[in-house]
């Protein structure tokens, strides 16, 4: 058999799988988003833009997502950057790998269980009870946007730390010494040398976290208690409760389109900032 034939044979199963389980479903969502809801739920073929015209009905979900996803990304960045800096620049090399693994490990354990842990901490007998002992009464955390934000930062922190660490680790430490030798204050060295050189890592981390947050369902479901909901929660409601497939498809399409637009604007912005495009790549 020729090399070409062999490659084609090796690629066929994966290709078919992607075709049936990825391309076909996405096409179905695209087509259904122009359809109508059946009398008993489901989908009736049609060509109408009615579903898209109805999008404002779910405006709250879009608003929450579009506020809390960027906010969560920024909060995660602000907490992650100093840690990544510590690990890459200040930490003793023999501890570095273990410390890094300790950051990543939680990310690979169930996000469901980790978010659920915050019900304890933020719930009535957790932090609010603790605050009561020092005289601060009637604080509510659980089922507020704050709880969702904490859950988001907690859940996605590892994903932010890792790429920033990688870009800071690659940074030539002699540049920092040179900058100090030339009389720069530590802050100025950071602002003019370290920060610009770590832009690719920051960009990758922000993008990864932002993309995952746009489709988030579990954290608002568990810590928002139905009061703070994302587009993901609206989708679950539309497909599993009200079985409105056509409208749900339009919401899903809109989510994906918003994601693609924000990510491409973001990529343009980052590449104009002078970051190396290759490093911004997701893979």
């Amino acid at each position: 058999m020729t090399q070409r034939g062999r490659n084609a044979l090796l690629l066929t199963p994966a290709g078919l799988w992607l075709l049936v389980m990825l391309v076909l479903p996405l096409l179905v969502v695209f087509v259904f988003s122009f359809g109508e809801r059946g009398a008993a739920g489901g989908y009736v073929p049609a060509f109408t833009l009615e579903q898209y015209a109805n999008l404002p009905a779910r405006w709250t979900a879009f608003k929450n997502t579009l506020i809390l996803a960027p906010l969560g990304t920024i909060a995660a960045l602000l907490i992650a950057y100093p840690l990544a800096y510590f690990l890459a620049v200040r930490c003793a090399p023999r501890w570095r790998t273990s410390m890094l693994i300790l950051v990543i490990v939680p990310f690979w354990t169930s996000i469901l269980i980790r978010s659920y842990a915050w019900i304890f901490i933020l719930g009535g007998r957790g932090l609010p009870a603790l605050l009561e002992t020092i005289g601060i009464n009637d604080v509510r955390f659980i089922n507020t946007p704050f709880a969702v934000l904490v859950g988001i930062v907690y859940g996605y922190l590892p994903l932010m730390v890792f790429p920033i660490f990688v870009s800071l680790d690659k940074l030539d430490k002699r540049l920092l010494e040179a900058s100090a030798d030339l009389g720069s204050t530590p802050w100025r060295t950071f602002r003019q040398v370290t920060l610009p050189l770590s832009t690719p890592g920051v960009a990758t981390g922000c993008m990864l976290v932002f993309i995952l947050l746009m489709g988030e369902f579990l954290i608002p479901a568990i810590l928002g208690g139905g009061k703070v909901f994302f587009v993901g929660n609206a989708l679950v409601d539309l497909f599993l409760q009200s079985r409105n497939w056509a409208y749900g498809s339009a919401v899903a399409m809109t989510l994906v389109i918003i994601m693609l637009i924000t990510v491409s604007i973001y990529m343009k912005f980052i590449s104009r900032l002078g970051g190396h495009r290759d490093d911004v790549s997701l893979m």
Binding site: L18, F120, G124, L157, V256
Partner: protein
């Protein structure tokens, strides 16, 4: 700076520690520690619903990991020698598979399969010989595995491809020059070198499938996986039993992860040395 790092680690691990601690709580109240007991572990392990869900999750995760690592490795090897539109197409599909939110994958797979099954079932029934019972296609274990395999296969392709591109190609050329058949080269040269990456991909696929809630939630049909069970229990309220299950699940995932890390590390060391 060091103090800050300690605080972040506390933030990362305190919730996990709290769950583990409360899983040993003797009392029924989930938020008040009244004494040490392992009774909830016993309760969880003797709960038939938990055990059923666990079994479903383990089977789904195992099958997913098998399919994903075999298909992903095959594709990664073939993609080494593929250029042009086919390469671009595959790269784009892998990129899409990873970038599209899990929830969209979940709903898309649900409505696509329900629609396809809706056409397929009457068709098969019409073509089926008189007297026999035609098979009914519906959502279940196979759809969970199919959907999880789609995503994890993309991960395996990326991991194995990274390993292949870091490999010395002259080894394969030398093997061919020494008259090894392509299959012989694959079995004796390529496979041993990429084995750690495949195994790491297998373990990551297993962990992903085992932990996944959102995709399974849509495509599981009447099956209940462990995350689905935990999620519906949390909705009814927090219990020490769920803490015990959560602690066990996290401990098991950690074990698998450490294994994956060690394998990847050993693989990297082997190719460097």
């Amino acid at each position: 700076m060091r103090l800050y790092a300690v605080c972040v680690y506390l933030f990362l691990y305190a919730p996990i520690a709290i769950i583990a601690l409360f899983s040993f709580n003797a009392g029924r109240h989930a938020s008040q520690f009244t004494g040490f007991s392992a009774q909830w572990y016993g309760k969880a392990l003797n709960n038939p619903f938990v055990m059923d869900a666990l079994q479903t999750s383990l089977i789904a995760a195992f099958l997913t990991a098998c399919f994903a690592s075999v298909l992903g490795t095959m594709a990664a090897i073939a993609l080494q020698g593929v250029t042009g539109w086919l390469r671009t197409l595959f790269d784009a599909l892998i990129y899409i598979a990873i970038m599209i939110p899990g929830i969209v994958i979940g709903i898309a797979t649900l409505i696509a399969l329900v629609t396809v099954f809706g056409w397929l079932n009457p068709l098969v029934a019409a073509l089926w010989p008189e007297g026999g019972t035609p098979p009914q296609f519906s959502m279940g274990m196979h759809t969970i595995v199919a959907a999880h395999t789609m995503f994890t296969m993309a991960l395996v392709i990326i991991i194995v491809r990274a390993r292949l591109s870091g490999m010395d190609r002259s080894l394969m050329e030398a093997s061919a020059d020494l008259f090894a058949t392509p299959w012989g080269t694959f079995r004796q040269v390529t496979l041993p070198l990429i084995a750690p990456a495949i195994l790491a991909g297998f373990l990551l696929s297993f962990t992903f499938s085992f932990d996944d809630f959102i995709i399974a939630f849509f495509v599981a049909g009447s099956e209940t996986t462990l995350p689905i069970y935990i999620f519906s229990s949390i909705r009814r309220g927090v219990t020490p039993e769920i803490n015990a299950i959560g602690t066990m699940v996290m401990a098991a995932s950690l074990l698998l992860l450490v294994l994956a890390q060690v394998l990847l590390r050993r693989g990297a060391a082997k190719s460097a040395g």
